[in-house]
């Protein structure tokens, strides 16, 4: 049972880390603000979700699990709002944000 839980944790957290990595690569490689934001928010929200999911079987109590899920929900709301704001800003001043593609 515990072996199974550990295996699940390792798999889910590794998958989460992979998505974080992909999002960061996107942030570094994509040409402009909007595509970078897209890569970051999509990949990081999924990555964090997977990390949280993977950690759930390792917790002792339901309450601790709920707190973790709650953190994930808050990060979702905050990052969705923040990226909307950044995207709006990027749309209003497109000249400044456009950079040469790597």
């Amino acid at each position: 049972m515990s072996l199974l839980a550990d295996l699940f944790t390792i798999l889910a957290v590794s998958a989460g880390v992979f998505f974080f990595f992909a999002g960061t690569v996107g942030l570094l490689r994509f040409p402009d603000t909007l595509t970078r934001l897209h890569a970051l928010t999509k990949a990081d929200n999924l990555g964090l979700g997977l990390v949280v999911l993977g950690l759930l079987p390792q917790l002792g109590s339901v309450l601790a699990g709920l707190k973790l899920v709650f953190i994930w929900v808050l990060v979702q709301i905050a990052s969705a709002g923040a990226s909307q704001l950044l995207a709006g800003l990027a749309k209003r001043q497109p000249e400044e944000t456009r950079e040469e593609a790597p």
């Binding site: 808050l74 709301i77 905050a78 709002g81 923040a82 909307q84 704001l85 709006g88």
Partner: protein, 311 residues
């Protein structure tokens, strides 16, 4: 698990610090500083100081970050405080600072091995305070005078910030962030997050007696929620001359001082608590302090009055 992670964290912190100092753009440096504050919070967790980690993330990263973003957006070109240094000056400064770092490193490596510690002294009388979190016990019982002076510093700094506004606006509203209609996303955040923020702040405040948390962390979250509502235009910034606001600002120090002096006759001395009531008194002081800290932090970030008081 600890070693590689600590090494990675050390490298990240040093790289970010170096980037903040060397990057060309002012605003980029401010963004770097926010990330740096969050990295420091991780370092504090690795140092087993969760209370400090929460404070660093909330104040060092969050509050300082918002403040500096506001200032850097408003700041026009100002003359440099010193001429851009030549290559020779930079080299000399670099060598000297590296010397300072190396000397500190030598000191760190030479720290005495059974490290001196006040942990035992802090734990021994903790039963008398009714608290479970030794950090809270230090802040509000053993070294309550420090905490009292700290809230005074906070108020003095706020008075300093207010005094830098123009005379004709004294007692008016801070004008921060009202440059146009707020974006719908911001309004959405300002509607959705505050209920969560208030619950989390209440939780942190209450649990601070026994677990990591406490009034500073809780107050910073509440101040952030208030600022968010102000930025989104959902709550008007308060008049800095308003009676209620002034009362909130002095509530903490006054309650603290009153209980402190009461200690002269019902306990052993100034800022001493009678054992039977130690915990309720500490909670009372913390609650009053929290009100003042929320107001002081939010208004320091919002800046001095820049509009006439409403009639």
């Amino acid at each position: 698990m600890s070693e590689p992670f600590a090494l990675l964290l050390t490298l990240l912190v040093l790289l970010t610090a170096g980037w903040i100092v060397t990057v060309r753009e002012r605003r980029a440096a401010v963004f770097g500083f926010i990330a740096y504050g969050l990295l420091l919070a991780l370092v504090w967790i690795r140092l087993a100081a969760v209370d400090v980690a929460l404070t660093e993330a909330a104040i060092g990263g969050g509050a300082t970050g918002v403040l500096l973003l506001r200032v850097s957006a408003r700041l026009g070109s100002i003359r440099g405080m010193s001429a851009p240094p030549g290559l020779a000056t930079r080299w000399i400064a670099g060598v000297l600072c590296a010397g300072v770092s190396l000397a500190l490193m030598a000191l760190v490596l030479a720290l005495p091995d059974p490290a001196p510690s006040l942990a035992a002294a802090a734990m021994e009388p903790i039963g008398r305070t009714g608290l479970g979190n030794p950090v809270t016990a230090v802040l509000l019982a053993y070294r309550a005078l420090d905490t009292f002076l700290e809230i005074i510093v906070l108020l003095l700094a706020l008075i300093g910030v207010w005094s830098l506004g123009a005379d004709r606006f004294w007692g008016g509203e801070p004008a921060a962030w009202r440059t146009g209609p707020p974006s719908p996303a911001l309004v959405f955040l300002a509607r959705v997050l505050p209920p969560f923020g208030i619950v989390i702040a209440g939780y942190l405040f209450w649990i601070g007696a026994d677990e990591p948390g406490g009034k500073f962390q809780a107050s910073t979250i509440l101040a952030a929620m208030w600022l968010l509502a102000m930025m989104a235009g959902l709550a008007p910034p308060p008049r800095t001359g308003a009676r209620g606001l002034r009362a909130a600002l002095v509530a903490g120090p006054l309650v603290f001082l009153a209980i402190g002096f009461a200690g002269l006759w019902w306990a052993d001395g100034f800022l001493a608590y009678p054992d039977a009531f130690a915990k309720p008194l500490i909670i009372l002081i913390e609650a009053a302090l929290a009100v003042s800290i929320v107001a002081a932090l939010a208004l320091m970030v919002a800046g001095p009055a820049e509009r006439l008081p409403r009639r």
